[in-house]
């Protein structure tokens, strides 16, 4: 795990506490997905409110008649692009999509998704591992979307992935983190950044991810499909900061019985 900052701070502002992935320093620990926003204006406002520096995009057939260019809008926002391989069901397709993304966006970074089931959109573990290995060999910085399996996470790191992105629950489900125990185990199992991806429904889910030791949170639908996406982006930003602060502050242990917080000495006797 990255060492938390020990520098003094007044509690109002989070300490300087950058996240480094493959040598790139990120000051926001919230990654934003661009899918689901009903307009590019809403997306722009949400990016600004989220403070995110890294946003995902998908690669699809061009529509020459489309109004407004996503690439231009994101460029104006000053964010870095993280292309994904969403929609790919085989290692072969994912590898080709990653190569095309590198060509289109001049980045070696790829959020690797290889889907194994249409209803749950859960990752196909063997194909994912195969694609990850091949892309690492080709020089990509691979951030795989993976299940909450600590063993698979370790295997992905063993083949050279720069981070792991375990799911909290299925993409777009908003069910939060179904197995916090496994997420905590993944944090212990690997020595690369852990980015909780998928399933975030609201701010408390993002805070929990950070409290469990995740280094960052990725949110897409939870913000894009909220009634007020800009407001939810602000909420997520605050939640990620709060969760990170709580994690690095060190929470008290849970106990079954009360521990008095007022002293027993000096208690008055009235009868």
């Amino acid at each position: 795990m990255s060492t938390p900052s020990r520098s003094a701070h007044n509690g109002a502002a989070p300490p300087a506490d950058a996240l480094t992935i493959a040598g790139r320093e990120l000051h926001s620990r919230l990654l934003l997905g661009t899918g689901g926003f009903s307009s590019l204006e809403l997306l722009r406002d949400a990016i600004a409110a989220s403070g995110s520096e890294l946003v995902t995009v998908a690669l699809r057939r061009i529509d020459p008649d489309a109004r407004g260019s996503l690439t231009d809008v994101l460029s104006q926002c000053g964010v870095e692009l993280l292309p994904n391989t969403a929609g790919c069901h085989t290692a072969r397709d994912a590898v080709l999509t990653a190569r095309l993304a590198r060509e289109a966006f001049a980045t070696d970074w790829i959020k690797l998704e290889v889907i194994g089931d249409e209803d749950t959109l859960l990752p196909d573990a063997p194909e994912l591992l195969r694609a990850a290995e091949e892309l690492v060999d080709e020089g990509f910085v691979v951030l795989p979307y993976t299940t909450d399996d600590p063993v698979l996470a370790r295997r992905l790191v063993d083949v050279g992935c720069a981070a792991v992105m375990p799911l909290g629950s299925p993409i777009g489900s908003g069910m939060g983190i179904r197995n916090p125990y496994n997420i905590a185990l993944i944090r212990e199992a690997v020595d690369v950044p852990v980015v909780l991806d998928a399933g975030i429904g609201t701010a408390s889910d993002a805070a929990l991810a950070m409290e469990l030791g995740c280094d960052a949170v990725m949110a897409a639908s939870a913000i894009a499909r909220a009634q007020d996406p800009e407001r939810m982006a602000r909420a997520m930003r605050a939640a990620v900061q709060a969760g990170r602060l709580a994690r690095t502050a060190g929470r008290i242990p849970r106990r079954r019985y009360a521990t008095a917080s007022s002293p027993r000495e000096g208690l008055a006797e009235f009868t």
Partner: protein, 67 residues
């Protein structure tokens, strides 16, 4: 004729990738565009010289909103 983004096109074999992009209304200077022909990436630097064969399948991709 070649297949362009999954559709039968008017692009005849013998044209280059750059010419096919022109017919699609996509400027070769446009940022954020990538091309694959028959499942292989055609790097931007080869768009002017890469000649499309009969029945080639060309995909022209760009950034779309996505998780």
């Amino acid at each position: 004729m070649i297949t362009l983004n999954g559709q039968a096109s008017e692009v005849p074999a013998g044209e280059t990738v750059a010419e096919a992009l022109g017919r699609l209304g996509v400027s070769p200077q446009r940022r954020g565009v990538a091309v694959a022909v028959d499942g292989e990436v055609v790097p931007r630097g080869e768009w002017e010289s890469f000649v499309l064969a009969e029945d080639a399948r060309m995909e022209v991709l760009t950034a779309m909103q996505g998780g």
